[in-house]
């Protein structure tokens, strides 16, 4: 068996890139694409992993934030195979990825602390599931 090279993570596996601020027509469902970056050598499960036991990536916006998540379209993901089990194909995100959302904002300035829940692994090990805050300043006009 090939000797693995394993990496241990010291900070967040996923980083929110942008946008920091969006201005939307109030009360109207508007498209907002959110961009994220996964640290090198890591992957996270897609929104629809093939195996039920795997934790999917999910974006959410807390209620009572003045902003509602009307819809979210996730990337399909890419096939990934662990060296120790070449027969099982995982469906994962790696590198940069984007979630296309539709957001409805009430009038006003809302500092939304949206959430992204994911579970990251490298080729030989996994880290516990994590929920990071996705800060977005949503202005409804």
């Amino acid at each position: 068996m090939e000797k693995p090279h394993k990496s241990l993570l010291r900070t967040e596996a996923v980083e929110y890139l942008y946008p920091e601020q969006v201005t939307l027509p109030a009360g109207k469902s508007s498209p907002v694409t959110l961009h994220f970056r996964i640290q090198p050598n890591l992957h996270i499960n897609s929104h629809t992993p093939r195996e039920q036991y795997l934790i999917p990536t999910v974006f959410s916006i807390p209620e009572s934030s003045g902003v509602r998540l009307a819809d979210a379209t996730y990337p399909a993901g890419a096939d990934f195979t662990l060296p120790a089990d070449p027969n099982e194909k995982l469906l994962v995100y790696s590198g940069d990825f984007a979630i296309e959302t539709k957001i409805v904002a009430t009038p006003g300035d809302h500092l939304v602390e949206a959430k992204l829940r994911y579970q990251a692994c490298d080729q030989n090990a996994c880290m516990p599931p994590k929920t990071i805050t996705v800060p977005i300043d949503v202005i409804g006009k």
């Binding site: 090279h5 990496s7 241990l8 010291r10 195996e51 934790i55 692994c121 996994c126 880290m127």
Partner: protein, 233 residues
């Protein structure tokens, strides 16, 4: 010496008349060139600083990745090696309390795993085979489910869901060695447990002889088990 021919008056006058204009043009041209050079240098410097700042920001926000090979351990986990395995009492799936001390005198593999962990699922059949192979020598594997869910003690639904998922995994994988739950409560004692699976090899005297983060191979695990069996004999 041949005398220089005189400049024709008309040409001389033209040169004399146009000289200040040309000089001014040249001076203005040079000034503009210098200003342009300064402007370009300033822009280039700003752009360089901007890129450097972006690189620094990117470097700061990136994970600190610690290269490791099979059997290597993080600083937190490595401090376990050579020391007594921290004691614990956890429940098994039937609700019975099980302590590390109940395995006193046996070489052990304490295997921290999670239901959501793909590599753990790959490793489980190896563990079953290794238990069968080394069990007759007194060796024992203890599986400890470590879901990392941060469930609160009063979250009955959460714990019930967690327990059901663990039981399902144990049944599907036909894990016949003892499986305990709530490994998250041992995070402080066992070095963070932020990497699954984590395998802690303990000799019959209760001393940790090796810690392995992630999976490598069944052969590597067998080597660690043999070390645990040989140590303290």
């Amino acid at each position: 010496m041949t005398p220089r021919p005189p400049i024709p008056p008309s040409s001389y006058n033209r040169l004399k008349r146009s000289s200040p204009l040309k000089r001014n043009t040249i001076v203005i041209g040079i000034t503009l060139l210098i200003l342009a050079t300064f402007a370009w240098a300033g822009w280039a410097n700003w752009e360089y600083r901007k890129q450097a700042a972006e690189r620094a920001l990117a470097a700061a926000s990136h994970a600190e990745l610690v290269p490791a090979t099979a059997g290597d351990v993080s600083a937190e986990a490595s401090r376990l090696t050579g020391n007594p395995a921290p004691d614990f009492t956890l429940q098994d799936l039937s609700g019975a309390s099980v302590s590390l001390t109940s395995f006193k005198g046996k070489p052990l593999l304490i295997n921290f795993w999670a239901t959501w962990c793909g590599p753990c699922k790959i490793e489980t059949p190896w563990l079953i085979e290794l238990q069968n192979e080394y069990g007759p020598k007194g060796f024992q594997i203890i599986g400890i489910s470590t879901e990392g869910n941060d469930l609160k003690p009063d979250d009955k639904d959460g714990w019930a869901h967690d327990k059901a998922a663990i039981a399902k995994f144990v049944k599907e994988q036909r894990m016949q060695y003892p499986v305990l739950i709530n490994g998250d409560s041992l995070v402080g004692k066992y070095g963070g447990l932020d990497v699954m699976p984590t395998s802690v090899y303990v000799d019959r005297n209760g001393k940790v002889v090796a810690v392995q983060l992630g999976i490598s191979s069944k052969e590597d695990m067998a080597a660690h088990i043999e070390k645990a069996i040989a140590s303290g004999s």
